[in-house]
Amino acid sequence: MLDRLLEILKAGGTHRVSDLARVLDTTPKLVEMMLEDLSRAGYVKPVATCTEACASCPLANSCIPARPGKAWTLNP
């Protein structure tokens, strides 16, 4: 299942955890675990949320901080 997930990700594109769960016939929680596993193995990288990126920004108050949940991207 992990290898199938990796194949899907290598093909590129934007994916939601719930869509991946549907394609792999499993639960979103398990997909999230697999992404964490792939992240530990260095295949994917968690994306810093804007909360972290804006921590030191003096204008943080005046922008719209999106609340995107967790996000990952494939390592090149």
């Binding site: 994306v47 949320t49 804007c50 804006c54 922008c63 999106a66 995107p68 991207t73």
Partner: protein
Amino acid sequence: MNCHPTVQAPPTLPAIRERPILVALAGQPNVGKSTLFNLLTGLHQHVGNWPGKTVERKEGYFTFNGHSYRLVDLPGTYSLTAHSPEELIAREFIVQERPDVVVALVDAAALERSLYLVAELLPLPAPVVVALNMMDVAQQEGIQVEPEVLQAALGAPVVPMSATRGVGVQELLETVERMARGDLPYTPRLPQIRQDHQEVLEVIEREITGHVPEPYPREWVALKLLEGDPEITRMMRGALPPERREEVQAILRAHDDAQVAVASGRYEWIGRMVRAAVTRPRVGQIGLTERLDRWATHPFWGLVILAGILGLVFWLTYTVGAPLQGLLETYLVGTLADGARSLLSGAPAWLSGLLADGIIGGAGAVLTFLPILVIFFAAMAFLEDVGYMARAAYMMDGFMHLIGLHGKSFLPLFLGFGCNVPAILGTRVIESRRARLLTILLAPLVPCTARMAVIAFLAPAFFGPAAPLVAWGLILLSMGTLALAGIALNGLLFRGRRSAFIMELPLYHLPNGRTIGLSVWQRTGAFVRKAGTVILVVSVVIWALSVLPGGDVEASYLAQLGKSVEPVGRLMGLDWRLTVALLSSFIAKENSIATLGVLFRTGEEEGLADSLATTYSIATALAFMVVQLLFIPCVATVAAIRQEAGSWRWTVFSIVLLLVISLLAGMVAFQVATLAGG
């Protein structure tokens, strides 16, 4: 039930052994291990450290049905790899000490996460009893787990329980006792790896036969070698004769993807267990989120909904905010300016002009935006708080991919709707230099709140009830321009390839008034501070330039400056005053209005909006708004571009690019609107 199972009933069984029955308690952190441990051992426990480690070791004793038990609480872990000392301790204990029974405590409400550990425990040389804890929590969350089905699927006993309530503990102990006596069938169904790797596994098993140190099980060692486990690899490097070692290493090198294959087998196995034993009725928050997302994140309808919501926000902002803005302009700015003039009638003319035309007319005009901004900020904060913004971001991310941008670029670009400066700074999350530069170049094309405020002021003045539609169209124009610029830059300069992007969207939930209020308060505060500082200073400077040297606006320094660049403005139907307003927006976008406020002497006879509407044609107004929206960003954004791009070359490129785009778009808008009769 009896929580401390020191059940003193007469022993029904003969003593089956002299030493106490050794039970290891395994489970992930926060699964209720400590609760169960304390419940079973009471005061008969000892706390120390594992030999040579700083990891806490808890051990205790209890009796049940006349037999004494030694219970060892293994460190809380999610798996048994060699990633942490806790994981190593847990698996070494089971391999070396061979407990009579391992109790795997799993969370019924998060079975997937717990089962990974079980998948690793089952191949170890000790029988496993699964304690299905937190059944009550799972039920509250609408998750139904069927213990009998799970037991059949696992091939190992499963006991449902709730340690915090003391439910199921007696049944667990009875099962442990029967397992220790060998009275229970135990045929665990182990995770399997893919067929091609299965064959490799068998080859490794044959290669290491006779060389595996006691008491390690050969199959398990072979699996761990294939998985690339550093501890087992080190151990076998010492145990294998040199030629055999070379052979095994060659096999492992040829199958370096085996780590994924082994883990993959475990995930397949977990997926099967969960499919068999867990039902999650699609109700409540999760069900609602799924139903809403079917539309909100649909490739086509999602975009329609996004555009619709954006339109609704503008409609609300204008229908409620614009009349309030008009009232403030007429009664507050007008009255204050008139009051200042009559109060200072005896004072020097320059002082009255500075206060009435410069400060009140300029910075005051900008402050009248406040109702519009408060409504806009509140609408955005509401959408963010209910969880819609993440969907908007998801829809925008697909759009970003269309223009060949990295999946991460949507985050900083999205911030650009608030202010372009954090958008530029936010590009730091993008590692690729190419994607980062492209995002930096495109970010100023995202309409920030300051630009939208200017549009919010001008649109109702010229277009009346059609203002929301015009503003909405202008925003779409910005996004369209961004897409075209992205496609062009990506094709001409960067030729990049996008990589996969995965996101987990938060659940929708009811909005929280306090969160929304706080967000509106902070953003409004930032705007008022800006109006009181940068915009105030620029207003005064513009006023001074508009009255010097002789007091006649048409002959002022500002008019001379404006008239020198007016030929360019004329191509878009802009006179020198609009051209100067545009130039002053370089300091801060709102200055466009402040400058026009100063130049039109707001409050003398009619409000600024009315003065503008009677002076300029619709075509000129439209061209001005288009240029304003796409024009070179404010000085703070340019400074951020210089800092983040790390080069003057790219900074100048960005300015020239935006200048060309905005002037071209302005000319097209003016010519088309003039032809259409505007």
